[in-house]
């Protein structure tokens, strides 16, 4: 009995040791990013002795990249892009999801087939024509260009269709008996019930937009009109050896989303997990 108990404790300690080891591997890159961002170039490239902590916590790198790379503008661009994409995606997908999930209309299967096909195709196939469209509209390097590919969402439509389908029938029927037309039933009864699906889609859309690199890089080549991710790529090209400054910029870029994630962990994990591998 005694030995079984000890073995149990041993296993538990072993599991924690393993998990902590992995956790360290996951965290070290972020910690190293932060530590480097506070160092001088000399400190960061010192090998003998190797410097782990900066000698003083200087903010020079942060102020330098903030002033020289319009970080305020980049934040505003990225925030607006995320905001517009989330609003557009949730709005269009909730309407279409409701129709596909609960209404009968001619051409439904064919139209839903379009949604499925979009989801199965590698998205790079859309890239060049989308770029040419924005270019022909003379809208490159604008806020509109950043939002453009995310105006509608096939995946979101699919997700919300499933959400609406899983809702019970009786509430909607009760509303119909009370004389609500379909628009009222959707707006006052069904849409509020599908809220959690919409929240998931919103978070998912926001994270995808935030992480996207190739589209903002080609559609918005100016550092004043692009998103955080694409701006990082540009900065790396410009001062590829000044790692303290690069790390300060990278930290600026990931900090807001990381803080939001730490506050709303549960919603983030659920929202991203429902994406089913589309990330």
């Amino acid at each position: 009995m005694e030995s079984a108990k000890r073995k149990d404790t041993l296993t538990r300690v072993g599991i924690h040791v393993f998990l902590i080891l992995i956790a360290v591997v996951m965290v070290v890159p972020f910690v190293w990013m932060a530590l480097t961002a506070f160092k001088t170039v000399t400190e960061s490239t010192s090998v003998n002795p190797f410097v782990i902590l900066p000698s003083s916590w200087k903010l020079d790198n942060f102020t330098y990249v903030w002033d020289n790379y319009n970080f305020l503008t980049l934040y505003i661009n990225t925030l607006l892009m995320i905001l517009f994409r989330v609003i557009c995606a949730v709005l269009t997908a909730t309407l279409a999801g409701y129709a596909f999930g609960r209404l009968r209309f001619p051409g439904k299967n064919l139209l839903f087939g379009l949604v499925l096909v979009q989801m199965m195709v590698p998205p790079q196939i859309f890239l060049l024509p989308q770029y040419l469209m924005v270019s022909n509209m003379e809208m490159l390097n604008t806020q509109f260009a950043l939002v453009f590919p995310g105006i509608v969402t096939a995946f979101g439509t699919y997700l919300l269709k499933v959400s609406y389908q899983s809702l019970p029938k009786d509430l909607e029927e009760a509303a119909a008996i009370d004389g609500c037309n379909i628009g009222q039933r959707f707006l006052f009864v069904m849409a509020p019930l599908a809220r959690s699906g919409m929240v998931s889609l919103g978070i998912f859309t926001a994270v995808i937009a935030f992480k996207e690199l190739m589209w903002p890089m080609i559609a918005c080549t100016n550092t004043t009109s692009t998103s955080l991710s694409a701006a990082l790529a540009k900065m790396q090209g410009q001062f590829s050896t000044n790692y303290p400054q690069l790390m300060a910029a990278a930290l600026f870029a990931i900090l807001p989303m990381t803080i939001l994630y730490l506050i709303f962990q549960k919603q983030f994990v659920e929202g991203i997990a429902t994406s089913g591998g589309k990330l």
């Binding site: 190293w32 090998v47 859309f126 992480k211 991710s229 690069l246 870029a253 991203i272």
Partner: protein, 314 residues
Amino acid sequence: MGTVMQMAVPKINERRGHMKWSKMTKGEKTEAKWGLAFVTPTIIGLLTLNFYPIVKTIYMSFFKTGDFGRGNTFVGLQNYKNVITSGEFWGSLFNTVKYAIIEVPLSIAIALVLAVLLNRKMRFRSGYRTIFFLPMVAAPAAVAMVWKWLYNQQYGLLNQLFHTDVSWISDPKHAWIALGAVGVWSIIGYNMVLFLGGLQDIPRDYYEAAQIDGASELHQFFNITVPLVSPTTFFIVQTRIIAALQVFDLIYMMIDKTNAALKNTQSVVYVFYQYVFTYDNKGYGATMIVFLLIFIMLITVVLQKLDKKIVFYN
């Protein structure tokens, strides 16, 4: 997690309603009008933003981009011939597959172990989950930057810590492994969360019965967990393979154009990007993407066939 599973194999499962406008009742017509109105924004958007581009990309693959303001010229299957006979394309496809071979199995195996360990009442459970999932909300551009710095041969943390002198990402022989490792690091938490969902579906009694029979934890893992979680595993395998075949961000951010390992690491999408947006050879780039599309479709079909054979559904 149920919704995620259904997404693996999207199927149209409603009864096929052949609806003729003339045969519909007044109520049905009203419903149809609302339905069509509600899907209109999405359908118009999909047609403009996605379907027109698919057709256009395929169309462009038959043209050569005009130089110096001349129009595009129709070249038939010339681009296809060029792509097939180009060592660069096959090289990039080979690199992409190599990357997937590192990323997919490793990230899945580690994630499954982590999920099993976390799938019990324990201290710091949600703390671990939060940390493992963290890379999912970080921009790949930033992640790639810091890994490039960690991998730096002279000053990087890795070589300093282990007193080694490895050129992690510039040696053609193993740069792809280093890239794959970053891919694994980025995606473990996500796979783990999907596995945690899948593990919920395994009935507790199986484990209880096994414990009565005196089966060890390891035994239970291989004989109960692994087979019973296989629908989730298969779903993750499928989505991860397809995502890994589209790898771009890491390679673009971590491998400089002067890097000696570029030829051994550049992926299909990376080469596509270079042709279209750097060399302005749009027709050739479009053709590469058509090939990627075909390749991904083939893999999807093969995986669907395998699904029925190897996955354990109870």
